[in-house]
Symmetry: C2
Subunit: 366 residues, 2 copies
């Protein structure tokens, strides 16, 4: 394995076996996990070995390759395939990409009558989905570069200060990332950027994954607690906020990692642009109201009560509150469209509204 | 020592020696530290063995008792006393109580010509300051009970849901606490309350101290990450927010633990009352603009990079981000008065504004 070289969080090795980077172990170790069965893939998604909406979508697609193989080997291939697809879709509830990718492959397989052809058909489709995500992220970078360029022009003497929450980098996607794509594009274009990285409790995807990604690319950054962003904005230390999303409803509401809504409120209160960078695969055109309609996953309370990190050379987890104190762990929140300056999509920046999205994606109009 | 019995975080033992609860070790251990010199007290304040604005004030006062003793034993008592008082005042910059308490005792000692009488005079004054804080917190509880009682009357079938940030409990004060005083008063009055406890990164005073205090008093509570409050408010799961403050300017802006501003924004956005519970010793009448005028302490970045907790039976600290990633650690932020429903003071609830404060404290009017 050589994830650094491929710069992708999922790949097939020489024998065609699926491997993924185990993101729970980063940043202190970079190791991989074999994914041999649909059950393996579901577990990898649920335990957050892999995470991030676009990556979960691609994992769902490759999970369907495994499902095609397993179903074909059974007695009732069609029924088994439906069951395995259902289980994959249910692995995590909030990101729409997972459902979208699984359904996409199911559509293809329902049109393939011979189960012996399923695996090859699913693999072709999964690779298309994967490459489409790469292209979308690259294009998000191109369009998202523009507001950074404009900010830089207005104060060329200092770096553009970007704040981001959670990890919407290549680890969450395939390449470039969504929220990080404009940052990487600016860095590569020679525009000085500095990134405030929200640590993103409870699982610290910011401190662990975004900081690691940025360090690898040589992008200047500083880790802050999730509490600090509002203060930095009040003091003029943030020029723009860019985050990803797990699902955006038709009206432009954006579900993203818990705490995103608080940063959007602070950006709005301080007149700072707040962008949500998403491939169109993240938009749920069937949902008209994200704040009330997007299901919010409740994860295990021990993710709040315990924190994982490095004790000397040893990775361990420590208990924070009193042993008997309960915790609640909602994994996402929904930022209302009214707080979002724009959605950075692969077709350009659009207003976070039904009409704004329609202008960029007229093919979705009824 | 028996801190649980006294329910105070600072006391004198039988031989008159000062002892404090080491709040860094809570909740997993409750142990005490001897404070024998002014240098000990400064260190205890700076390393957050003791913390919380009212408690820091009382510690400053007892620090002045030690200062009186040390200065009296030296060659130039008056000069030494001024130097020690200056060092105590500078131990932490944000809370006004520390300066206030030190100045209060200095005023007394400047009027006491014989240095041999300083210690006794300082001790009398420190005890008055301590008892005055207790009375103020008790009265804050009485006045803060009323909005909770009203909320309960509007939905008697379920507990009143209170969200708090950081620890403004008896550990931060002397007894009752400030933000917790209304909660304890409601609990004792038989009004069902449930508290959402923000863990309060980076030092987790919520998860460690507030959860511990509430558990000891049998108050139902649930620990959440600092990111979660906005979502809970959006979903109707919070009825009222009550926090403490380290300094309130004359216009009603409130400096409190970093992240408080974000919760105030979310409460405002969702029409949820947001109260700041403070003794009048926290009000800085000399400062007209808190957002721009209150100095914000920057603490060591390792408080962000490392987290302390319990690994099995052993207290340890673990590293979260990549070893080379820098961090920034602003300890407080300032919530603008426009987001504050009211200040709960020892004289009643007042509007967070100069005129509102003046009505309750007319003696401060010029």
């Amino acid at each position: 394995m050589n994830p650094n070289q491929t710069r992708r969080p999922i790949w097939q090795d020489e024998e065609g076996r699926l491997q993924v980077i185990d993101q729970r172990k980063l940043p202190h170790r970079c190791c991989t996990v074999d994914v041999r069965t649909v059950a393996d893939m579901i577990q990898a998604i649920q335990t957050m070995v892999v995470r991030g909406a676009p990556l979960i979508g691609v994992c769902g697609a490759y999970g369907m390759v495994l499902a095609a193989e397993e179903a074909c080997a059974g007695k009732e291939p069609k029924r088994d395939l439906e069951t395995l697809a259902w289980a994959l879709r249910e692995a995590r509830p909030t990101a729409v990409n997972l459902t979208w990718a699984v359904d996409c492959i199911m559509d293809r397989l329902r049109r393939t009558s011979d189960p012996r052809q399923w695996k090859a058909a699913a693999l072709r489709e999964a690779r298309l989905i994967e490459e489409a995500e790469v292209v979308r992220c690259r294009d998000i970078g191109c369009f998202g570069l523009e507001p950074i360029r404009t900010l830089h022009a207005s104060h060329p003497e200092r770096p553009v200060q970007v704040l981001t929450h959670c990890n919407a980098g290549w680890l969450a996607c395939i390449e470039y990332g969504t929220a990080t794509a404009p940052i990487y594009a600016a860095h590569e274009a020679g525009i000085p950027v500095h990134v405030w990285v929200d640590e993103t409790r409870p699982l610290n995807q910011g401190a662990r994954l975004t900081a690691w990604e940025l360090a690898q690319k040589g992008v200047p950054h500083t880790v802050i607690v999730d509490n600090a962003g509002g203060h930095l904005m009040q003091r003029g230390m943030v020029d723009v906020v860019i985050v990803g999303a797990d699902r955006v409803s038709r009206n432009g509401d954006a579900a993203n990692k818990i705490g995103t809504y608080l940063k959007a409120l602070a950006a709005f209160d301080n007149g700072i642009p707040f962008y949500v960078a998403i491939p169109s695969s993240t938009i749920d055109w069937n949902l008209s109201d994200g704040v009330n309609g997007i299901p919010i996953e409740m994860r295990h309370p021990d993710e709040v009560r315990y924190v994982e990190g490095l004790d000397g050379e040893r990775r361990t987890r420590i208990l924070l509150p009193p042993e008997a104190s309960p915790a609640l762990n909602p994994a996402f929140d929904v930022t209302p469209a009214r707080l979002i300056t724009g959605l950075i999509t692969e077709r350009g920046i659009c207003q976070a509204s039904e009409s704004g999205i329609r202008k960029r994606f007229p093919e979705w109009s009824s």
